[in-house]
Subunit: 462 residues, 2 copies
């Protein structure tokens, strides 16, 4: 077995070393403007989501558990009064940014890259001051590393049951923290080795608080990997491609070229997308269509007697829950999402609260919905039609839903998404200041200021 | 795929729940005396190894990296003056107890159970006082959980490239910390879920400092799992057996009966063994044989002209390194170990230092060694013969090496092993006190006192 493995590995390129050298040598001005702009959008979206999730019960519980273990409390828990040491802050911010299922998505791999990467380096920035320009480079490098490693092993790795946001994300966090810490190529390889030995997170945990734990722990683990390597703690220098390395052990597919090809010219980090709605992405076309239909209907929304949805079969397979009872179940119910979009025009986190999921008017609307699946339809399309009490039918066809690769969220829409989430947690005034600070990250001289701007009003600044 | 997985899972017993209920309900007096006695031996051996590894460079480096992140420094780093918060102490003690490759072994699965389990609960005991009797129950329960989960997936899981001490050990640590924290069965299930989502560690890291990181991080991750569950952080309740749970994702073999069969009557924890020598277990027969031969030869050791070893083929496959240059390479060189046993009668950590590996007399003896492999031989057997300058041959056949399942280390030998390691680090007097304290763990009213007894002389007590 050993011999077979070793022979099979003879022709494998040293992707760990290549990736490490690329990250170490990357200069701020080597990243094209459009890619840096997407990096800013990734950051803005992540800050909004982390603040949005800050008041969630999941965040309360992890804070209760880790507060007694925290070191010097110099790092901000976004959107909260509590502070933690940088490693625990990375954990908690990574959790809160994912808990509403509202964060960014690299669509090719379904990785949510900012959770692991941004959470680790923003927390680090409160220990080691960093400029916005360097921060943005580390963020983009980290997302690039996570997504390229994801491309190498997706889909087999994900199909097998790994939550790829955690398993690939830990490499991105290690790369980003290592970049900001000035690791040389050898130590960056060690950081990847330590990351590989912490790569974990199972899809079985979906539907529980442990799902959000994955990006948070990946952020914290990636940070620890880089800090250990910095202290001279050594590791394998071919952790990704070795016969018993990450890619062979955790996937049946290994496309190493996907890691190294066009490195620095083709940017996976620039393919990041942002959810317009706080739920499973396959429901987004239905919500988009219903919000548009609602605008057409005006007051006649109250006259709806039946709703017919035609969509790709994945919609029912993944989100066919007819009788959701909780927030989390609501996020996986196309019936609930459709009803809420028609009645309230809402697909944001406020549409998926326990209260809303159990609201009688929503439940009544849910009963009127019928869904027909059609494998010929694109996953980003939907056809919605409603019949009214007067017998009239109104119909809306969505070719590509907002937030899809072909129809990305505009900056304005991203700002609205940010504001809607953040205002609920830290109020309108602090939200405006925070959004402006996040949007201007690249010209910021000390990124820690952005983290601190997320503290609820009245919190004593540190 | 999903449907297939789900169907395939219909007949699977709820092993996560069964294991959780068993741990939660286990009473001190339900563990037979012989099993508790083995638990004490496991503990004594682990304390000795952790103190023995405390002055190793690997321990220095992890301490340098984590010290700035540490919370309230209430927990002892065994054998050192530094203190850390309990989670980081679990990490560092787990590392130092493994770094000399001298710790315990559950031979069926090659799991080193005490590293993850004892490291987590001894550190916890400095935050939450615990009696020796309760501590021992948690230690045995944790080892039982780790070894049974190991039995479920071994050997496929290990062959694939997972370092099973980390991947199964994290469940043991979660069980032990959860037991001492009084978790109910539901929260214990959550702790197992969180452990499953942190289960990690690759064999690719063998030969680097990251190998020892695995038991250390498993101890820390297991502790975090139990503390999160305690705070109400929820998770899957069938993390081990679910279609996309631990056993399916991380192994092609799932023998669930091995987890639940004879639970509480057959004790895997009692099958723990302790290495007499500080190196790969396949070399132990050779060392044993050479030490015996050396006693027979007396002064004639200097007259050896050639050495012939007949052993199982695994010996050369795993430890065939002819020209080791470093301590770690020495541990994987049957040539070095044989030479050192013949010349110095030593198989303890002092036999595997960089200095010893590069010693000219040892190198000269290495050159005289020839090895013949024989697949008919038992892995615990060896045949050694030496030829002397006068042409005479002296031979020694070892049927079963010391430390093997059939020839376990006596208490006296364990004490010697402890003393030899510990004296080098904290001196003879402190070693005597510490050994006595560890041996008396079961009658101790506050286990934290044992941890504190490991501090080097002159250290101010807390």
């Amino acid at each position: 077995m050993t011999m077979h493995h070793q022979e099979a590995n003879l022709g494998v390129p040293r992707v760990t070393r290549i990736l490490a050298e690329w990250v170490v040598n990357l200069q701020n001005d080597e990243i094209p403007t459009a890619v840096r702009r997407e990096g800013v959008r990734t950051f803005v979206n992540w800050v909004g989501c982390a603040v949005g999730g800050a008041s969630h019960e999941t965040t309360d519980r992890v804070l209760a558990a880790v507060m007694p273990l925290s070191g010097e409390k110099i790092a901000t828990v976004l959107g909260r009064v509590e502070r933690l040491d940088p490693a625990h802050a990375a954990l908690v911010n990574g959790i809160s940014s994912h808990v509403l299922d509202y964060d960014d998505t690299h669509l090719k791999t379904v990785i949510h890259p900012a959770g692991p990467v941004a959470s680790s380096i923003l927390a680090l920035a409160e220990r080691r001051p960093v400029s916005g320009a360097d921060f943005l480079t580390a963020l983009i490098a980290g997302c690039e590393v996570a997504c390229r490693i994801g491309n190498c092993i997706y889909p087999d790795h994900y199909t097998r049951g790994w939550h790829i946001t955690g398993t690939a994300g830990v490499f991105g966090a290690a790369a980003a923290v290592g970049k900001l810490s000035g690791l040389d190529a050898q130590k960056m390889c060690w950081a990847f080795g330590l990351a590989a030995s912490q790569s974990s997170g199972l899809r079985e945990m979906f539907g529980t608080m442990t799902k959000s734990f994955h990006p948070g722990r990946a952020a914290q683990n990636g940070m620890l990997s880089a800090l250990l390597a910095e202290a001279g703690y050594d590791s394998s220098e071919r952790a990704i491609e070795a016969p018993r390395g990450f890619a062979n052990v955790m996937s049946d597919k290994q496309d190493y070229a996907a890691i190294t090809e066009d490195l620095g010219t083709r940017w996976e980090a620039a393919l990041n997308s942002y959810k317009p709605y706080a739920c499973g992405i396959v429901i987004h076309p239905a919500i988009d269509g219903c919000i548009q239909l609602r605008a057409d209907l005006g007051d006649r929304v109250g006259d709806i007697t039946s709703v017919k949805l035609r969509a790709h079969p994945l919609v029912l397979e993944l989100t066919g829950r007819r009788y959701p009872k909780t927030e989390l179940e609501g996020k996986f119910s196309v019936y609930h999402a459709t009803a809420c979009a028609l009645l309230h025009g809402d697909g944001s986190p406020t549409a998926f609260t326990d209260e809303m999921v159990n609201d009688p008017a929503i439940i009544a609307m849910r009963e009127k919905i019928e869904i027909e699946t059609d494998p010929q339809m694109h996953e980003a399309s939907v056809d919605v039609s409603v019949t009214l009490t007067d017998g009239n039918r109104v119909q809306k066809y969505v070719e590509r839903a907002i937030g899809s690769a072909e129809k990305p969220l505009s900056d304005r829409h991203l700002d609205e998404k940010f504001t809607r989430q953040s205002t609920l947690v830290i109020g309108a005034e602090a939200t405006d200041r925070l959004l402006a600070a996040a949007r201007n990250v690249e010209s910021c001289s000390d990124v820690a200021e952005i983290a601190r701007a997320s503290m609820p009003p009245g919190t004593a600044s540190h």
